[in-house]
């Protein structure tokens, strides 16, 4: 039987400009530091495209951006943010403050309101007052400052865990005591690593590798990062805010 | 559109249902009683697909009556509600299922407690202090959350019911005009003029 379906009517082709590339990102703010992390698996459907595609990027010595969703849009968006930050540096001879970067990202995302970057952004870093900060965005630029946020494929697995461990939700402090508003860096790193090993265990799109960016406020001691194996410094100078990256393996199955 | 409400109080259950019988956008009848008295201390408000409702309600009514005649005592509210629920649940997986939503309210004369059950056409049953079906439920459930008192007097219960009915009349575009209100307590079933 010849294929007669072509005779049935005009054939239509549809181009889908978006894809979903899996992975998960996460950021937690401390009193004088911020941790931003993401896994490095990039997938489409059941296929793994690469086991090492970074989703977390250093923007300045005090700002780190994690992007998750459609990888092509994510990479292009980071490229454009970096470009805008370089122009700012040339015009003003300094790095853009974190809260200004957050507002810049909002305008850049909303500029594409009717053909959005299919990307969830989490911006982490150090505010001008020296405090750790996390800004989370939706694809069209709605954003808010928070203490912690997870996004991506395993958001639903990680976020309630963070509610419990960072915000102490559903936990009652001992009489006369209160929960800390910010955790020490070593605790935060443990929670981040636990979150990703858990997500790797139960979500097929999460795994392969983990990249954890640590941003320290100006003048903060290296307490909490000293002696960490595989720690790499990314900052341009030692007397300002400092950025470190920590790489860990995750299960590859 | 069809609305039914019910609530429990101290030793009584109030059941209210609108009196309109509609087909499409036309009101065919405005004095239909859609609350059946199944046994001396048991009420059932029914709503849903026209045709299904009366057929199903009469089927239930006669079977509950049959039980009463055979055993000389009626089914207690818990047992009656369970049996009615099962009838709906079995109907759901048949070729033609009944699309009927129910509020079953009764007074258990054995342990002297009021009981109210919310039952939908799927056979979902919930034991509740107050309940509603239809568009009126959006107003009634929030109002009764605020104003319902499980230990309230009949007057208090009627006040809460009035709030639900009045709000539905005020805010619902397709609100029904009239309701029948019945109460069941230790003395049996009575019709109440709101």
């Amino acid at each position: 039987m010849p294929d007669m379906s072509v005779l049935a009517g005009p054939q239509q082709h549809q181009f889908n400009p978006y894809a979903e590339n899996g992975g998960t990102i996460l950021a937690i703010a401390g009193a004088d530091f911020t941790v931003v992390a993401g896994d490095t698996r990039q997938s489409e459907g059941y296929s793994i495209q690469t086991r090492y595609a970074p989703k977390v990027f250093r923007l300045t010595d005090r700002a780190v951006l994690a992007v998750n969703g459609f990888a092509a849009d994510g990479n292009m968006f980071v490229k454009k943010v970096k470009q805008r930050l370089e122009w700012y540096r040339h015009a003003h001879a300094k790095d853009m403050p974190l809260r200004a970067i957050a507002r810049l990202i909002q305008t850049m995302l909303y500029a594409q309101r009717f053909f959005p970057y299919y990307v969830y952004n989490i911006l982490g870093g150090i505010e001008e007052d020296g405090s750790g900060a996390v800004y989370s965005f939706d694809p069209v630029g709605s954003y808010e400052r928070e203490a912690c946020r997870a996004a991506g494929a395993a958001q639903s697995l990680v976020q309630p865990f963070l509610d419990n461990q960072i915000y102490f939700k559903n936990q009652t402090a001992a009489p006369g005591q209160s929960h800390p508003t910010h955790l020490p860096l070593s605790d935060v790193l443990s929670i981040v690593i636990d979150s990703f090993t858990s997500a790797t265990e139960r979500h097929i799109e999460v795994g392969d590798g983990l990249e954890i960016y640590i941003v320290l406020a100006k003048g903060r001691s290296l307490q909490g990062v000293e002696g960490l194996r595989g720690l790499r410094e990314m900052s341009s100078r030692e007397d300002g805010e400092r950025v470190f990256v920590l790489q860990r393996e995750l299960k590859k199955d | 559109m069809e609305c039914s409400f019910a609530l429990t109080g101290k030793d009584y259950v109030l059941v209210a249902a609108d009196t309109t019988s509609a087909r499409s956008i036309i009101k065919m009848k405005v004095d239909e009683d859609k609350i059946k008295t199944l046994s001396p201390h048991l009420l059932m408000a029914y709503s849903g697909e026209p045709g299904d409702t009366v057929q199903f309600a009469e089927y239930i009514e006669r079977n509950i009556r049959l039980y009463h005649i055979r055993n000389l005592y009626p089914l207690r509210p818990q047992s009656a509600a369970s049996w009615i629920r099962r009838a709906l649940a079995e109907s759901l997986r048949s070729r033609q299922s009944y699309t009927v939503n129910l509020l079953v309210g009764g007074f258990d004369t054995a342990d002297k407690t009021p009981h109210l059950y919310w039952i939908d056409y799927l056979g979902t049953m919930a034991t509740v202090p107050f309940a509603a079906h239809g568009y009126g439920s959006y107003f009634a459930s929030s109002l009764l959350d605020r104003y319902h008192n499980p230990d309230g007097t009949l007057e208090e219960g009627l006040d809460a019911l009035r709030r639900a009915i009045d709000e539905t009349a005020k805010r619902l575009v397709v609100s029904p005009g009239k309701y029948t209100v019945k109460v069941v307590d230790k003395d049996g079933v009575r019709v109440i003029d709101l």
């Binding site: 309630p160 559903n170 636990d194 979150s195 265990e201 | 649940a89 919310w118 049953m125 034991t127």
Partner: protein, 208 residues
């Protein structure tokens, strides 16, 4: 929205050291509207076996009644205790009987199995809606918050927890998971089963 999500609700079971725990939320909804906040989804099967039934509420009630009947018949006919592993296969075959018109529930089991040496061993299991058994050694989750439960349980659970620690772990897991799920929550109930007793506690939760 799937039929399985119509009424909302979640269940979780966890294994500990010589104990198991099973818990559910208390919400019953009809889509986004909440109908009742006292709808338990965990039911006793024997003194040392509980079954959680999240899913379509009409089938939750029907299956609860069906398995009460089947376990009663087992006791009458066999006059011996019903073991969790036996019940798991009864559950599986009963669900598979309706392979092409299933009950829309995903049962979860938690109990203690009698070993030949006379001791009790933790036993948890879950099935899908057509009875495909899943024997996990750590925890089983099901319901509208299952993805959240997986994430939190994977982070909080550890092997060989005693009854009190297991209670705290399962409670924290359930409460924090249902708080991120619009279709589950409105309080919870937790059963901790040990060889000599079952401790049942009702938990308050967020009401939004």
């Amino acid at each position: 929205m799937s039929i399985m999500d119509h009424n909302g609700g979640s269940v979780i079971a966890m294994a500990g050291k010589d104990c198991v725990a099973i818990a559910s939320d208390l919400r019953l909804g009809a889509g986004a509207q909440t109908i009742a906040m006292n709808f338990e989804k965990v039911f006793p099967v024997t003194d040392r076996l509980y079954m959680g039934l999240p899913g379509l509420a009409t089938d939750v009630i029907t299956l609860r009644e069906k398995f009460r009947y089947l376990t009663n018949m087992f006791h009458i006919k066999e006059s011996r205790p019903l073991q969790p592993s036996t019940f798991a296969h009864l559950l599986s075959s009963t669900l598979y009987e309706r392979r092409f018109g299933p009950y829309f529930c995903e049962p979860v089991l938690a109990g203690l199995e009698l070993t030949p040496s006379g001791t009790y061993q933790p036993y948890i299991a879950g099935t899908d809606l057509i009875g495909c058994l899943n024997f996990a050694k750590d925890f089983i989750v099901a319901g509208t918050a299952s993805d959240k439960l997986f994430g939190v349980a994977e982070g909080l659970w550890e092997p060989d927890l005693g009854p009190e620690d297991l209670f705290e772990t399962i409670s924290q897991t359930l409460l924090n998971s249902v708080d991120r799920d619009a279709y589950s929550g409105w309080g919870a109930i937790v059963h901790v089963i040990t060889a000599d007793k079952v401790v049942t506690r009702t938990l308050k939760g967020r009401m939004d």
